[in-house]
């Protein structure tokens, strides 16, 4: 086969392969938590103190402020997950309700796919700075406990 023919053949083969490739399965947020988070944060979100930070009792407080919501989405293992923006938003909403129900603000606005896309598009380079900004925002008197 001539080179042009080979290229066309390869293209057609690739296209055919794509056509028969199974679509990625969409799991429930609980399954996505198990597959993407639970290995380190454990099933109860309490994690391993000193090794992996706990979600239980913590994550519900972070979402009181814009900086905390942004920090959550930009954490490397959240931002770089293979989940779509929609799935990531659903997963985050599941996590904060599951492990932060008692700390959630009464007027909690769920994460949206647009918010996830916006935040995960800005890599978290200055981790200490983002943490500090979140803690300072949480310490502000205007933040309801």
């Amino acid at each position: 086969m001539k080179p042009a023919g080979r290229s066309l053949g390869a293209f057609l083969l690739a296209a055919a392969t794509l056509a028969v490739a199974p679509a990625a399965r969409a799991w429930t947020p609980a399954v996505n938590y198990a597959l993407n988070c639970q290995g380190c944060h454990l099933a109860d979100g309490r994690a391993t103190p000193g090794l992996v930070p706990a979600l239980a009792g913590t994550v519900g407080r972070l979402v009181h402020v814009r900086e905390g919501r942004d920090y959550l989405v930009r954490l490397p293992n959240v931002a770089s997950t293979t989940l779509t923006d929609d799935e990531t938003a659903d997963l985050l909403n599941w996590v904060v309700r599951r492990f932060g129900a008692t700390e959630l603000p009464r007027d909690f606005a769920p994460f949206s796919a647009a918010e996830v896309a916006r935040s995960r598009g800005t890599p978290l380079v200055d981790v200490d700075g983002a943490r500090r900004a979140t803690l300072e925002a949480l310490a502000h008197p205007s933040v309801r406990r």
Binding site: A34, N36, Q38, G39, A43, V52, T82
Partner: protein, 181 residues
């Protein structure tokens, strides 16, 4: 109070004497011992393990529908992304570490399809840590596994985190539940 016995006293005495006539102290002690040993044995019975499995929220390992295959073989369905030595060959089981090793609480988690019922199950690949490599039944399968830059889905890592020892001995495939869509 008078020294005369009431009808309650007489009834109790009659009952106690009847009991003493029909039983011996030795047999009572023997029966009591049987009850005590029986009560101590109950937690070892399958029914107790069932209850414990239900309490932990994990499905009973032995009762998955259509369970088939040999857990000591790499092609066993739960090992579909296992990289390491199979604990079933090293003194443990497909979901329990061998004595003398400690299961790592931190792990990577994937899914495998159970050929028995066609469902996908969530599988936790925990390393058993605290002893040298088992060196029996080495297995390498990679269904759903990702390269090292997706750390939490990579099975080539030594997952002995949060354990007393970082020495890995073998790996288990623990079923966490059905993966629902």
């Amino acid at each position: 109070m008078s020294g005369e016995r009431t009808w309650v006293d007489r009834l109790a005495e009659r009952f106690a004497r009847g009991l003493a006539r029909s039983t011996s102290r030795r047999s009572t002690v023997a029966r009591l011992g049987t009850w005590l040993v029986g009560a101590a044995t109950l937690p070892l019975l399958p029914i107790a393990r069932d209850w414990q499995a239900a309490a932990s929220g994990l499905p009973d390992d032995a009762k998955l529908p259509g369970e088939s295959g040999d857990p000591t073989k790499c092609n066993y369905w739960r090992h579909c992304a296992l990289d390491g030595f199979i604990c079933s060959c090293c003194g443990g089981t497909q979901s329990a570490c061998p004595p003398g090793t400690e299961m790592s609480p931190i792990t990577w988690i994937g899914t495998c399809r159970n050929p028995g019922d066609g469902k996908d199950y969530i599988i936790s690949y925990n390393d058993c840590c605290g002893s040298t490599l088992c060196m029996r039944c080495q297995c390498l399968r990679t269904e759903g596994e990702k390269p090292p830059y997706v750390l939490w889905k990579n099975n080539a890592l030594l997952w002995c985190f949060g354990t007393k020892s970082r020495a890995v001995h073998c790996s288990v495939s623990v079923v966490l539940g059905v993966a629902e869509q």
